[in-house]
């Protein structure tokens, strides 16, 4: 029974049952018609795209795969005048130089240490990124403490050789830190014991870390000037990513702080760093940092750009995080406050988990930007992947017309794999989080 328009009165006698949608058109032909040729404009776009694919994909495939040279031990394979082929990419060159692209000039007999570093990094990243992994709390301890210390020992050879003066300085610093904690406890009128335990714990923790770095494991010392390639790129990117997020969060909170000095300091830092190109920051970190430090302290030449990129990306991260904080409704703060949560609890338990979730795309965007920006450390003489390719490109042993193109194609592939991986991972996380909590 249907409702007639001209009926003066109507009472429904029976429920209208749910029906399946009409079976208009299904299958591939219908899909193509609906999605590719649904109107004149759409049809035109489809044809243009097909044409562009037609003129770009076949030559690319021809160069990269079909005509490519896969084996050979020197330029002869990739030069027409020496009997080789020069219409396609010269993968033989990449294969030959792969060790250099991976380790730079790292001492050949010690390269197993770098391999272990790669393996440790993969384990750490996998542990933390796999959301259902067991004991992710231990994973965090591993990634943020054990892994960095082990990497330092492995890569440099450890045995930092701290002087007696250094240890004396550390003792004074430790005593001061504990005193500060005790003082804070006295000011806040809380009991002294936990403050002493926390202070002592921090000092002991730093002490153990330093002692491990100082210990002699009998490994040969490899100076950072020899490091290069994928090793340096991953190192700079990992350090930048790991430091930029927490620093960025602190800066974002600082910028929204009610304390004028904290707010001013955050704003000045963020606006200054964002207003300056990364290359400038790197050159300043490289040449000006030593000027500000006392003469007998030298900062490692790899550490300088490491600090530079981390600070640079944390300024960008701060603005991304601030965007998330702005998006939080006031009610969430009020709900948290009305339950008696204090500021750190409110931020860590309620606000940041939600705010960071909103800005996952922005965070990953910053990470991807940072990963590619690591190629700029070459400007201060660090041999990252791109720089090692640059250096190999002019090797007379491999002088052939396609070498440059091949090298850059390899670089593109390397960066693409990592950046695309990050992008896909973040999409997965977004989807997973969205499934749990529909608003």
């Amino acid at each position: 029974m249907s409702t007639a328009v001209d009926m003066p009165r109507f009472v429904r006698a029976q429920q209208v049952e749910a029906l399946p949608p009409p079976n208009l058109a299904r299958g591939p032909v219908a899909w193509v018609r609906e999605n590719l040729f649904s109107g004149p404009f759409n049809t035109l776009l489809t044809l243009v795209v097909f044409y562009l694919l037609y003129i770009s994909v076949p030559p690319l495939a021809k160069f990269l795969v079909i005509d490519a040279v896969w084996s050979g031990s020197d330029r002869a394979a990739c030069r027409a005048d020496m009997g080789g082929s020069e219409t396609g990419a010269c993968w033989a060159f990449i294969w030959e130089k792969l060790n250099y692209f991976t380790y730079g000039s790292y001492t050949v007999s010690e390269r197993w240490r770098v391999d272990i570093f790669f393996a440790l990094l993969a384990v750490g990243v996998g542990w933390l990124l796999w959301l259902k992994a067991p004991r992710r709390d231990l994973g965090a301890v591993y990634f943020f403490w054990l892994f960095p210390v082990a990497s330092y020992i492995l890569l440099t050879g450890g045995n930092a050789d701290f002087s007696g003066g250094f240890w004396l300085g550390f003792l004074i610093f430790g005593a001061l830190l504990i005193a500060v904690f005790a003082l804070m406890a006295a000011i806040l009128k809380t009991s002294l014991r936990p403050a002493l335990i926390v202070g002592g714990g921090i000092v002991g923790f730093i002490g153990i870390t330093l002692a491990l770095m100082d210990m002699d494991f009998g490994l040969q010392h490899v100076p950072t000037s020899l490091w290069g390639g994928v090793l340096v790129t991953l190192l700079v990117a990992t350090v930048g990513i790991v430091f930029s997020l927490p620093f960025g969060i602190l800066l974002a909170l600082g910028r929204r702080s009610k304390l004028p000095i904290v707010r001013m300091a955050s704003v000045i830092f963020i606006e200054f760093v964002r207003g300056v190109p990364l290359i400038t920051v790197l050159i300043m970190a490289n040449t000006m940092l030593p000027l500000f430090l006392p003469g007998d302290i030298t900062v490692d030449r790899l550490l300088r750009p490491l600090i530079g990129t981390a600070l640079f990306s944390s300024a960008y991260m701060a603005e991304v995080v601030r965007g998330g904080l702005q998006a939080m409704p006031k009610g969430q703060y009020e709900g948290a406050m009305s339950l008696g949560l204090n500021y750190p609890q409110m931020m860590i338990l309620i606000i940041l988990p939600q705010a960071l979730r909103i800005v996952i795309p922005g965070i990953v965007n910053t990470f991807i930007g940072l990963f590619k920006d690591t190629s700029l450390v070459a400007i201060v003489g660090i041999f990252d992947v791109v720089k090692t390719i640059e250096a190999s490109r002019i090797d007379p042993n491999w002088a052939a017309p396609t070498i440059g193109l091949t090298g850059y194609a390899f670089a593109a592939l390397f960066y693409f794999i990592f950046c695309f991986g990050m992008s896909r991972y973040s999409l997965g996380v977004e989807r997973r989080l969205a499934a749990g909590q529909k608003r």
Binding site: Q332, S338, G340, N342, R439
Partner: protein, 258 residues
């Protein structure tokens, strides 16, 4: 106003009063939003506050747990005077539960986690015990079966009942309700009001901003009518509805009671 005189308040934890507001004033910039508020709420008393929008009702009860700061006068909650001292503010908030118009549940936590969060982190209750307490109150608001869902999966009425349970998990001495039914579909108002009536019958001290006059008649000990940031009239519900004194009250009641 009423014959009630407010003693110069001595801070006394065993005071008869749950909430004392003495000559409270508040400004938003130039705008004088609360004017000369004097209110003494006894323990176990149920107070309903009504008035046109913008009359300062919400602001007044939000001053009680310091979501809003007052600029003049004194507010003493459960024997603790509210000042800039953060520690005292936290103490007061621990004892004062609040239910909001828009629920303000935490959408990234399950219903159970919403309820156990504050007991675990603020009261340092062991997780297991907190969960038992939470389930107890979720049963009381009649939605224990939703414990593992997220707030976004519940109806408005259910969410508001969770919000009430969440507050109760802190075993508050005073409950503030800020228009708890205004954002609900009409079908869901009753389930929330029933929960609140149950709470009132158990002797909870309640301050409730609402336009549900049936609720006011049923449970309130006193009804307060506010306008232009002032308490215009305060009386028992019988007298208030039958025999309003002030012109503004009469006008207001004539508009909301048909």
């Amino acid at each position: 106003m009423t014959s009630q005189t407010i003693q110069a308040a001595a801070v006394d934890p065993k005071a008869e009063s749950a909430v004392q507001m003495i000559d409270v004033h508040k400004w938003y910039g130039e705008f004088h939003v609360l004017r000369d508020i004097n209110l003494n709420v006894r323990r176990g008393e149920r107070i309903v506050i009504c008035g046109p929008s913008g009359s300062g009702k919400s602001t007044m009860i939000r001053c009680i747990n310091r979501l809003e700061e007052h600029q003049k006068g004194r507010i003493i909650v459960d024997g603790i005077e509210l000042t800039n001292d953060l520690k005292r503010i936290d103490e007061v908030r621990r004892d004062v539960g609040m239910v909001f118009q828009h629920f303000n549940l935490f959408p990234h936590l399950t219903i159970l986690e919403n309820c156990t969060l504050a007991p675990i982190w603020v009261k340092k209750m062991p997780k297991k015990e907190a969960e038992e307490v939470a389930m107890h109150y979720l049963k009381r608001v009649k939605i224990p079966e939703q414990a593992n869902k997220y707030p976004g999966q519940l109806s408005g009425g259910q969410q508001q009942r969770v919000a009430i349970a969440r507050s109760l998990c802190m075993s508050p001495k005073i409950m503030l309700f800020d228009e708890p039914t205004s954002a609900l579909d009409p079908e869901m108002v009753k389930e929330v009001l029933d929960t609140m009536v149950g709470l009132a019958e158990e002797g909870m001290t309640m301050l409730c901003v609402t336009h549900e006059m049936g609720f006011a008649r049923q449970v309130a000990d006193r009804v307060i009518f506010m306008d232009y940031g002032q308490i215009v009239e305060m009386n028992t519900p019988d007298e208030f509805f039958k025999n309003p004194q002030h012109e503004r009250t009469k006008l207001f009641l004539s508009q909301i009671l048909h």
